[in-house]
């Protein structure tokens, strides 16, 4: 229930801000709706539903209701998920500097290390074969232009 209050508040604020912002595009008239008309009502829809979610959740919390909605499962490995996100962001940064081949190899190597059951040899295989496969598919076959590294790869 507390999670619902939190997410509801978040979406409520988002919807309200969007609606206010959209008014700036010009709502127009009903006979001739402007650029802000549709996003304004989109924002209002989000904000009002989010308000109802918060209200609903807080009423139930007060009435002592618990767990009529299943609580999200525990996330024992959340640091690994965070590391995956960081790796993806780092990959984007690396691509611009190190080029496709090196960044792909390094990122896949790092990602595969997040599961302790994978051996170093296994990680090297995943990264090596993976980078080669992606290079074949996207660079050779599809001709996508990636930034190149100083080494020209």
């Amino acid at each position: 229930m507390k999670a619902d209050i939190f997410s509801g508040l978040l979406f409520g604020v988002l919807g309200a801000v969007a609606a206010v912002h959209a008014r700036g595009f010009g709502l127009g008239t009903l006979a001739e709706p402007g650029a802000g008309f549709f996003p304004f009502w989109g924002g209002v829809l989000i904000a009002s539903c989010a308000a109802a979610i918060v209200l609903n959740a807080s009423l139930r919390l007060r009435a002592g209701w618990r767990q009529d909605v299943p609580v999200p499962l525990a996330v024992p490995n959340w640091p690994k998920a965070v590391m995956c996100v960081i790796s993806l962001l780092a990959y984007a940064v690396m691509l611009a500097w190190l080029g496709f081949a090196i960044s792909t190899f390094l990122t896949m190597l790092a990602l595969s290390r997040f599961d302790s059951r994978t051996s170093w040899r296994g990680s090297l295989a995943i990264a090596g074969l993976g980078a080669a496969g992606f290079w074949l598919l996207f660079v050779r076959l599809l001709g996508v232009n990636f930034p190149t590294s100083p080494l020209g790869l």
Binding site: E32, A35, I53, A81, C84, L88, L111, S112, F134, F138
Partner: protein
């Protein structure tokens, strides 16, 4: 009739071109593969493959995506029957009786009837699609802006009704999807909306990084954060051909499943998942021996598996004729077509007959290929289930990143995809359904233009939606649907159904 045959023959000429035929087979094979693999469904796969379609032209892209969708329906049953884990969401219900049959040593007939049932339902549905597509597109031409608004609202309401979790949260997702669809330049006034001075946003948000983040990356994050143990049950598979008795019992369920699946698939908001549940419920109710359901009744495999295949074909009906995606899979298909500058709708059949009939013809071929290929290859699919997730997930993540980049050669899209991945992960954990968001995002631009034009037409009065017969009926249906969810008994049943379906 003769006209349709002629057009279909031309379609076969398109579908049989070596390139297109290969894409059809490739789509069917990839679809089966991801159908078999639990945790990777057709939606995530199409998201992953979206960048590959850029180099193949709209017809090839559509042929391949169609193959993936119905291929996944074939593949999903394999995992359900052998492992008691649904390979993808539309095969959840098949676990009940399919796995029970496998435990009784009848995995072969269960797999066999699922494949034959899928083939029969798939082919019959393509036949139905062939016959009704042209007249329906003709009818759709009579639709003006208010009719479109009503039809799209009904579609959104149906999706909300069927979304897992609370209706309010689903409405939040609708709002967010519509809001995100307005990012970029307004086509009427030229005003820039929500661009915050970022040049990349001026063309609007791309659907590619969005769905790769929401479905590809977020799925990996969920699996990494809370790993699920998967135990491969050892099952010997033999005697794939169902016995005469099996056939006798499966005939009617396959027939009914086909009709239910096609109709529910063609309905906005419907699709493969709903129709497989509906088919199971109906078979159980009609059966003279409902007590054997859940204990290895072949009817409980034949019906739903036929229904989900029929639905995957049926859901092309509203897209190809009205230009409205009826579910999330079709939303992605539509996104892929729009990238190529093809707008699906009533004019498609006249403007691009090669594409229209080529895709339909490819569905006949794909269904045959799936039947011929899959039965002998079941042993191979079982091997695929042994690939550990720790090997797959780095590949999936990099694929998403490289795929997002390759659409516009833009690193911004990679960041965007990562952000959507995190958002999707958090949303799913709190009961917000990303699929609803994407559907609203795809429908958004058409809905906005139709709504603005309708109001212009009606001189600012909303009565234009109730004085015309078609919008009136559609909107009344939508209102009845949402009101009915508020009735406790129906609300409970809705929640029970979507909770059971919420596995993929």
């Amino acid at each position: 009739m003769g006209d349709t045959l002629n057009l279909l023959a031309n379609g076969f000429a398109v579908a049989l071109q070596p390139g297109n035929l290969m894409l059809c087979l490739l789509g069917a094979a990839v679809g089966t593969l991801v159908g078999v693999l639990p945790g990777l469904g057709p939606v995530a796969t199409m998201a992953l493959l979206l960048p590959l379609t850029y180099s193949m032209g709209p017809t090839g892209a559509l042929i391949m995506f169609a193959g993936i969708y119905y291929g996944a329906m074939y593949g999903g049953s394999t995992t359900s029957i052998l492992l008691n884990i649904p390979g993808e969401a539309a095969s959840v219900i098949t676990c009940l009786d399919g796995h029970e049959m496998a435990r009784q040593g009848r995995a072969g007939p269960a797999l066999g009837i699922a494949a034959f049932g899928s083939f029969i339902a798939g082919t019959a549905s393509v036949l139905a699609l062939t016959l009704i597509a042209a007249p329906l597109a003709q009818f759709a031409l009579r639709f003006s802006y208010p009719e479109y608004v009503a039809l799209m609202l009904l579609g959104l309401l149906l999706v909300v009704f069927l979304a897992s979790g609370s209706l309010l949260k689903a409405f939040v997702m609708v709002g967010l999807g519509l809001l995100l669809s307005t990012v970029g330049q307004d086509v009427v006034s030229g005003a820039f909306r929500f661009t915050f001075g970022v040049p990349t946003l001026m063309d609007g948000l791309d659907i590619g990084p969005m769905i790769m983040g929401l479905f590809g990356v977020s799925e990996v994050l969920s699996n990494i954060a809370s790993p699920k143990e998967r135990v491969l049950v050892q099952t010997r598979v033999r005697d794939l051909l169902p016995s005469r008795e099996d056939w006798r019992r499966s005939r009617a369920p396959i027939g009914r499943g086909t009709i239910i699946g096609f109709l529910l698939g063609a309905l906005p908001g419907g699709g493969a998942i709903v129709s497989s549940f509906a088919s199971y419920a109906i078979e159980k109710r009609l059966s003279r021996t409902p007590e054997i359901f859940g204990k290895g009744a072949i009817e409980g495999v034949a019906g739903p598996e036929a229904a989900n295949n029929a639905a995957s074909v049926g859901s092309f009906v509203p897209l190809l004729t009205f230009g409205i995606p009826s579910n999330i899979v079709m939303a992605i298909v539509m996104g892929a077509l729009m990238v190529h500058g093809v707008t699906p709708g009533p004019l498609l059949i006249k403007e691009r007959p090669d594409l229209f009939w080529g895709v339909i013809a490819s569905m006949y071929l794909g269904n045959i290929a799936l039947l011929v290929l899959n039965l002998p290859m079941i042993a191979l699919w079982v091997q695929v289930l042994r690939i550990p997730y720790r090997v797959l997930f780095p590949v999936i993540l990099i694929f998403c990143a490289v795929g997002s980049y390759s659409m516009n050669n833009s690193l911004f899209d990679v960041y965007m995809m990562t952000v959507f991945g995190v958002i999707g992960f958090l949303m799913k954990r709190h009961g917000y359904e990303p699929a609803v968001l994407v559907l609203a995002f795809v429908i958004g631009p058409i809905l906005e233009q139709s709504l603005r034009q309708s109001l212009l037409l009606g001189d600012g009065s909303f009565t234009i939606f109730v004085t015309r017969p078609i919008p009136l009926v559609l909107l009344a249906a939508g209102a009845a649907l949402i009101l009915s969810a508020a009735i406790p008994a129906i609300g409970r049943r809705r929640r029970a159904m979507v909770a059971a379906a919420d596995v993929d």
